[in-house]
């Protein structure tokens, strides 16, 4: 037994030991687990806020939440979902899977890894505690436009700023770790073009994070100095410009939404070939398409600002650039369909979620394309049409992607198969819930319902009622999911190492459950194949 293992067994036998183990761990699997549980908790919290919001919106009139509290809930729902549920979930998956997928013993910077995680519980405790501060929590939407957030924000705004800084630092440090790991710790023979796509999408996402999270940090720092140190970045009376805030924010904000989906693309690219028993159709294409999306994401930020009074030339530029992003995204969707085509497909739960992801993310992409058309955008902007669009790409996008990944890799993490029947029930209820909640929002938006309103006029009532019923169902499915996950951790049919017949990749060559330390010596990959790509060619040592 290595000294590592000795040290760990010493900790396991007491409550103090338990705390020490989890506070001090530098192990990528344990840190991955911490991120995933944190994300699950915050997903429930932000989801509960959504339940309350939808309860208020069930009928016209104010029943539950006074307008200011409603605005606080809307703000926190967005912030916690984006920064607390989706991002940590993807980082958790990255932590668990990237080292195993590239044949590395751990992340390149394990202690930094621990630090990156532990910042987050503090950041979110701070953010959520603003609900109980005098003046209430931030109430200006997750996009916190100036001067509503700078001049007119409640006292808790400064704590919000501090929280955002902490989350940003965590993300940036985590992203540095991921890039250094991927660039340095791949098993010999695993060239970049032999890496699994999940690793590729995370490599690209990590670069996006390093480039844009600091810009967000800049924006909130300028907010802080405008509020307290006499600057006027966004204050017209001092010669500043509120629209400048929007430029800086969305320069971060648009790449951010690609950060929220790219790992999901990677997950789909792992799962669909497995259950189609067929290689990913166009590996190189998928890599280049993802890189194109990432690069393009830097030049489209203005499409969030078409009504701010931009001149014609700028509007046209952003319209064309935004429409262009549909091309590489479409290429990815076509590749997934071509992967399935003529395969031999089974529909276990991970595959169901992956297919649901592709179909519904595409629907979200369609509404995105419609939003790009500036004249039409003048009618869609800041209405529920936009809310429908981003919930389609985020929920069936990022969240279904995460759930698909969890079902796919849970047997590897825990050594047990999840209950397939329950998994399928979860999927179908979630599909029903998601569509019932968010599809009507396209129509309430088209009918003229603005965003971020606590109460609405009567012609929107029917759509809202449907959405609220759907949301209730969706909330219940989360409880089911939690139950399934906990039950799988505690027991279930024993999982084999391979788990899924069609799965390829180094992670399937280690035992299930994966031991705390894997690939302490790098695996030998199969001799290089004649073609220079091979999505997941590697099985350690043995021949087929």
């Amino acid at each position: 037994m290595s000294t590592h293992a000795h040290a760990e067994t010493k900790y396991r036998n007491s409550l103090l030991g338990f705390a020490a183990r989890w506070l001090l761990t530098t192990n990528h699997k344990e840190i991955g687990t911490l991120y995933l549980w944190l994300s699950f908790v915050l997903f429930f919290i932000a989801g509960s806020l959504a339940m309350l919001i939808r309860m208020e919106l069930f009928q016209p009139g104010i029943q539950l939440l006074q307008p200011d509290l409603y605005n606080q809930f809307v703000t926190l729902h967005g912030l916690v979902m984006v920064f607390g549920a989706v991002m940590p979930a993807f980082v958790g998956l990255a932590n668990w899977m990237i080292p195993m997928m590239i044949g590395a013993p751990d992340m390149a910077l394990p202690r930094l890894n621990n630090f990156s995680f532990w910042i987050l519980p503090f950041a979110f405790t701070l953010l959520l505690s603003t609900l109980f501060m005098e003046g209430g929590a931030p109430n200006f939407g997750w996009t916190f436009y100036a001067p509503l957030s700078t001049t007119y924000g409640p006292p808790s705004t400064d704590f919000f700023i501090f929280g955002i800084h902490m989350m940003g630092i965590s993300s940036v440090l985590g992203a540095i770790n991921i890039i250094v790991t991927i660039l340095n710790l791949r098993a010999p023979g695993m060239t970049l073009m032999k890496m699994p796509l999940f690793v590729w999408t995370w490599l690209i996402t990590a670069f996006l994070l390093i480039m844009v999270m600091p810009v967000l940090a800049g924006a909130v720092t300028m907010m802080l100095t405008d509020r307290h140190f006499g600057t006027s970045f966004f204050e017209a009376s001092g010669g500043g410009d509120p629209v400048l805030f929007q430029h800086i924010f969305w320069f971060f904000g648009h790449p951010e939404v690609y950060i929220l989906i790219l790992p999901g693309f990677g997950i789909a690219s792992q799962i669909i070939p497995t259950f189609s028993r067929k290689k990913l159709f166009g590996y190189h294409s998928m890599v280049y398409a993802t890189i194109s999306i990432a690069i393009l994401s830097f030049v489209v930020w203005g499409h969030h600002m078409f009504t701010t009074g931009m001149p014609l030339a700028t509007e046209l530029f952003f319209m064309y650039a935004t429409m262009l992003i549909a091309v590489p995204t479409g290429v990815k969707v076509f590749n997934w369909v071509a992967t399935m085509w003529s395969g031999s497909i089974t529909f276990e739960t991970p595959m169901l979620f992956a297919i649901g992801f592709v179909i519904m993310f595409t629907i979200g992409g369609f509404s995105g394309l419609m939003l790009a058309l500036v004249p039409a955008d003048f009618q869609y902007h800041d209405t529920y049409f936009v809310v429908a669009h981003f919930h389609y790409v985020l929920y069936p996008g990022a969240i279904f992607g995460t759930m698909a990944a969890v079902y796919y890799w849970l047997p590897k993490w825990t050594g047990h198969m999840y209950n397939e029947r329950l998994g399928k029930i979860h999927f179908w209820l979630a599909m029903l819930g998601v569509n019932l909640t968010f599809f009507p929002m396209h129509f309430s938006g088209l009918a003229g319902m603005p965003r971020r309103i606590v109460d609405y006029s009567l012609q929107f009532a029917d759509f809202n009622m449907f959405s609220s019923i759907g949301a209730g169902l969706l909330g219940l499915t989360q409880v089911l999911f939690l139950y399934i996950v906990i039950r799988t951790i505690r027991g279930g049919e024993k999982a084999s190492d391979q788990v899924w017949e069609g799965a390829e990749g180094l992670e399937w060559t280690v035992p299930s459950p994966a031991p705390l330390h894997t690939f302490e010596t790098p695996p030998t990959l199969e001799p290089a194949l004649k073609m220079d790509y091979d999505p997941n060619p590697v099985k350690s040592g043995s021949n087929e």
Binding site: L109, V180, N184, I210, V215, S237, G239, H247, P311
Partner: protein
């Protein structure tokens, strides 16, 4: 230190520099945005600089309508309005218009007027040789005054712009900020 460690350190250092650089870039966006807008006038801000009219500037034949608007920010206890709503002018020629202000409060109040021009593209063609917006303005309690703006529209104004609007939003400021604004 092994080659592998070296590589890791190098990558970590480079990426950290990138992160810090992007933080700086966010701040660089501020002057970049200003420069871009000043060059193109795209956000309707006038240059805040005193312009000097060139007596040789040829006066154009065409007529342009310029509207004047006054808006008072919340908490500013002044009455503030343009004394004429519009002028029909010729590009190249100098004109003066007045704004009326009266301090309704009983103590000294300092104000800063922030100009904005629509369409934005017209802003770089509007040159002010005298404007109450160049400096803060003070009125004692109950005092009133007329504040002039002397300007010309240059002949490079695009042919298709026949009407433009010049608005001033008047904000209450602390006199302490005089030094900051004057340096803008």
């Amino acid at each position: 230190m092994s080659k592998a460690d070296n590589s890791r350190r190098k990558h970590t250092a480079l990426l950290s520099v990138l992160a810090v650089g992007m933080f700086g870039f966010a701040f660089a966006l501020v002057p970049l945005y200003d420069v871009f807008c000043e060059l193109t006038g795209l956000n309707g801000k006038t240059s805040g600089q005193v312009a000097y009219s060139d007596p040789q500037t040829p006066v154009d034949d065409r007529l342009v309508t310029i509207q004047f608007l006054g808006i008072v920010g919340t908490g500013m206890p002044w009455e503030f309005r343009p004394m004429e709503h519009q002028l029909v002018v010729r590009p190249g020629k100098l004109y003066t218009t007045q704004f009326y202000a009266r301090n309704r409060a009983s103590q000294l109040v300092t104000g800063q007027a922030i100009p904005s021009v629509s369409p934005g593209l017209a802003a770089i063609h509007l040159h002010k040789t005298e404007c109450f917006c160049f400096t803060q303005q003070q009125l004692a309690g109950g005092e009133e005054m007329e504040m002039p703006v002397t300007f010309y529209i240059d002949t490079d104004l695009p042919e298709d712009i026949k009407t433009l609007s010049l608005s001033y939003t008047l904000y209450r400021v602390n006199p302490v900020e005089i030094a900051q604004v004057a340096s803008n």
